[in-house]
Amino acid sequence: MDNLVTLTVNGKTVRVPRGTLLVDAAKTVGVHIPVFCYHEKMKPVGACRMCMVEIAPGPPLPQTACTSPVAEGMVVKTTSPMAVSAQKSTIEFLLLNHPLDCPVCDRGGECPLQDNTFGFGGAESRYIDEKRHFEKPLVLSDEVLLDRERCIMCYRCVRFAREIAGDESLTVIERGTESQIGLAPGRTFDSPFSGNTIEICPVGALTSARYRFSARPWDIRSVSTICPHCAVGCNVRADVRDNQIKRFLSRENLTVDDGWLCDRGRFGYGYPYTSGRLTRPRLRRGSGLTDATWGEAIDTVAAAVRGAIDRRGPGSIAGLAGTGLTNEDLLAFRRLVVDTIGSGNLDHSRAAHPTSPLGIDAVTGSIQGLDRSDVILIVDANTLIDQPVLNLRIKKALGRGAQVVVVGSEPLDVNRSPYRQPFIAAGDDLGGVLEAIARLLPAEFDAARARRHEAAESNATRAFADTVKRAHDAAVAKAKEASEAEPAAYATVEEGATRYGITRATVAPIPARRVRGIEAFAAEAGADPISPAVVAAARTIGGAERLSILYPRSVGADPRVLNAVTNIGLLCEAFGREGAGIFPLVTGPNEQGAIDIGVVPGEGGVSGSAIAGAIESGKIEILFVVGRPLEADLLALRGRIPCLVVIDSLLGPTADAADVALPGLTFAEKDGTFTNLERRIQRMRACTTFPGDGRPEWRILRDLANAIGGAYTESNSEAMAAALAREVPHYAGVTLDRVGYRGIQWPVGPEGRGSPVLHAGSTFDLLPVGSA
């Protein structure tokens, strides 16, 4: 195997791919090399000098394992006297100016500096002089504080900001012993990803303004759950103390979040513990809302529903569900509105719904697939706001050399160095620009094919010349050895080839793309003048091996845009392959679940976008609003809604406007599953208990349905999860065991595995072009 290197670490044989760093290679045989500055997601810098090991062959000096790539036959000792003494010295140097205030440090108990000191340091300090002092804490932002005395200058935070988040506000200032982490003049640490620096800081230098001094690592209970704040569904570890979540840490899931969280997610755990919770069922009696028992409240709603059905039929009842609800809640909601009441008036969104030209309303690829895409087309998407951690995945792609083409409105970070991207403003004509790109693609395919063929040809030519030269050199050497006359140099490579009997390998032509209907498509290329930016974009996209297209799902409501995007994907064969795909990005945390489960208007039903009109026309008797605030336009129509039933966890205008307000639970208090934007079903776990009388929404909805005539028997969320697998076609085969710790992407195959790719093996016809 050409690509594997064999070496020994502490006498153990290691075989790892060429290019692996020693520090990672050692891990594969269970040898732990201590590090501070090294972080596997960032370029090594070799600054802290903690990972010193002895390497032979090489100079008789300790070397840093984090910057040394493995080499064949390398002999590495991590515990030789040379290595041990170097590691011990690094700890001594690092502790010289470290305040050693571990008893009052947030990091105490989970601190790599403590651990490495324990493992590799000496017991005594020889330092008796004054330590270095800095004013502290230095406030970097509302969320992040810096203690420069604790800082060991590993630069992880600065490197994260530069290399991963693309921010430049955090930097190193001063020099030498005075060097310190700080802010560029006039800046704050305004990154939406700033909290990650707290988590990767190997000491207690960067602390969270919310968490600091509120818990110790040994008196917290950790719950593996997911972030409830957007459709990425980052995996988090919720640390709980005194029945409150004290912090979120990343529970690294490389397939979803790559180990990062955004600040909205990381710091968004506090609202369940505010005083603004809806704690008891409330009924409108006369002019005001008063507390009621659950029995009274359920009976009141059931009576109202029965009355409305009797008077005006099930079509007079409508329901809007929020996208922060679990799949279990959403199933119970659908059961109530559709299966029990018999109404088609339900929705999870107030916006118009796009159709799905390929039959399945979901992302066709996976988030991790973006790591393999060579071109990413972003259409009108603002991931920095809507799916922040997905934004980091795009930056990661840029960092490894993928090309990004941005069309539509300008993303917020399009001009952030070093991620500056070409950007095509489409104005009102997004569909037109995309169509123009699609129309140019067939010609670009031919050009790209020619380029690749040319490159292959020139490689073959070079290899041919090399082979001839090697044969000649060997002949010369042989002649020299035998003291014979050396063969004369060859005049041309061909002459040498003939002399040594070498034939040139032929390069097979690369077949043209076979996309059904491509000929007709190319023929439609119009005569309109096309801007150079569009031509350049088409060139990039046409050269893509693996294209991913990202756009907000809502943009697809315009069929022209949707068709054009889909056509680009079809032309570039972006379907059914790893590392490619079409990504209609949902924004609500469990919006995908709502779509999958069918919290969408039924045949002839009133959609979310039409609900205001239906209310105004007096068509709606009862409106259920579950887990979402009422928008201002609906609140203004409150007087036209005879009965408003609200299930929510928070007080506010929506709960205040209700005729019946029923207390639900927040993410912090319930078990269930969410489906993220890449079809991944993941588990949310209850972290804390709610001191009020709230109940999980699915249970409230079940009780309502049963009071109206349903007969639902599920009594816990696990049973509801089983019901999901039975009743939701996409979720067939999904069990909580299969969801496990890392989630599973539907559809689940017969062998119980998820599907990172949709439409594998399917072929589609190109969609019609034009606004017709």
Binding site: R49, M50, L61, P62, S89, D129, T177
Partner: protein
């Protein structure tokens, strides 16, 4: 000592030597013409290899060998001329820049041709305002005469030159930190390998040589290999050399001679002897970063290998004389303070260790210390790394910061002890330095 005809500094003192007309009139650019007309790039590298030229900037690495490490091929390659001369005691590059910039430009063009480079960057220390100005003018004149630009002297070879000011950091003299600075980043050394010859400026293969090194190149061509290797001690210590002599001597300044003069030749014959008729107490043979020698080193040959064998080095080619009235611990403390101030702070041992050394050395000089503090001081210095098996730092600045401590504690331990005990200098005057009467 034998008669020596100056080569590198021959134009110092010649009126308007920085002007191309004067330079050409004195035989300038003959080396370049010869290189382009008579040599292939590979032959040039071979020539420089055979000349024995070694880097004058500090490490003394074989120049031709360094050039040969640069991969062949069509990728963009760079020459970076290191003119960030800031080693205390060193001032020969400044003189070359101010008085003979064309010699450097000519050498740089030949280097580019030899290595297949089309872009040369001159990184000049910020304080060298006159040298920078004259170099810029020289480059412009070279463009005007067709020595630079497209199709140099009709040879089909293209070469462009750029000048950049440093901003005042000693660490920028370290080649990889210099490259960071050139790229517009904070100057911190890079971890090696890869070396600049493979991955250097803008990730392209890059030759980094100092001003004096490159200034040697035209003469190897114009005067030939035999002449060049006749200077010094072939095969590894050849060529002309500028000794930047300073300290307690009668004639401080740049003295040119063949490589390998003895300390006696330099200090007495060229430098006019120790000032005030005093005795030499200590001799720093290769800039502030080199280990000190005792004053009895008169017969030591100043070349790379002799000094290397004595655990010191020729370094940047700066020689500092300290007379018998100089307090060794105070002088060492001053240098330790310099390194503490100039440490870039990137790696732990240097950032923390240089500060620690200063703290202890200062306490010793103030008499606030005990004998075991001297042991600690020595062990820290040894730990940061003066050579195997202890070097721990990312770049050479760490090692450099320790030589003033290790060499003086080794050789003048009694003076350190006296200070620790009494807080006063053991010198005849009782003060760190006694001025001339």
């Amino acid at each position: 000592m034998a008669e020596y005809e100056k080569v590198l500094t021959r134009n110092v003192g010649v009126p308007r030597a920085y002007d191309i007309d004067v330079y050409e009139a004195n035989g300038g650019y003959a080396g370049l013409k010869k290189a382009l007309a008579e040599y292939t790039p590979d032959q040039l590298i071979e020539l420089v290899k055979n000349s024995g030229l070694r880097g004058r900037g500090g490490a003394g690495f074989a120049t031709g060998l360094k050039w040969s490490f640069v991969p062949k091929g069509p990728m963009q390659k760079y020459l970076v001329v290191n003119g960030d001369e800031s080693e205390p005691g060193t001032f020969h590059d400044r003189e070359l820049l101010e008085h003979d910039p064309h010699q450097l430009v000519e050498g740089a063009i030949i280097t580019c041709f030899a290595v297949g480079i089309t872009k040369a960057f001159f990184y000049i220390r910020g304080e060298f305002a006159l040298g920078y100005h004259r170099l810029k003018n020289a480059i412009q004149q070279a463009y005007d005469r067709g020595y630079l630009g497209t199709n140099v002297l009709g040879s089909g070879f293209n070469c462009d030159a750029y000048t950049i000011h440093g901003a005042g950091a000693y660490i920028c003299g370290e080649e990889s930190a210099l490259l960071e600075s050139l790229e517009g980043s904070r100057p911190m050394p890079r971890s090696r390998p890869p070396f600049p010859a493979v991955v250097g400026l803008y990730a392209g293969p890059t030759v980094v040589n100092s001003v004096e090194t490159i200034s040697n190149v035209p003469h190897i061509l114009s005067r030939g290999l035999d002449w060049y290797t006749s200077l010094g001690t072939p095969p590894r210590n050849t060529g002309p050399f500028i000794y930047s002599l300073s300290g307690h001597v009668n004639r401080p300044g740049n003295h040119e001679g063949p490589l390998g003069l003895t300390v006696g030749n330099l200090v007495n014959d060229l430098g006019g002897g120790v000032w005030g008729g005093r005795k030499m107490k200590a001799f720093i043979p290769g800039g502030a970063s080199s280990a000190w020698l005792k004053g009895e080193c008169w017969d030591v040959k100043l070349d790379f290998d002799t000094l290397g064998g004595m655990r010191t080095m020729l370094g940047s080619g700066a020689q500092i004389v300290l007379d018998e009235h100089c307090c060794v611990p105070h002088a060492a403390l001053r240098l330790a303070e310099f390194y503490n101030h100039e440490s870039c702070g990137k790696c732990t041992p240097c950032r923390e260790g240089t500060r620690w050394m200063v703290k202890i050395a200062r306490r010793i000089c103030d008499g606030q210390a005990e004998s075991k503090d001297i042991d600690t001081l020595f062990s820290i210095a040894d730990r940061i790394g003066f050579g195997p098996p202890n070097k721990m730092t990312l770049c050479a600045l760490g090692d450099a910061s320790t030589s003033c401590i290790t060499s003086t504690v080794r050789q003048w331990r009694d003076e350190w002890e006296y200070h620790a005990r009494t807080g006063t200098c053991p010198t005849a005057s009782g003060r760190p330095v006694k001025p001339l009467d």
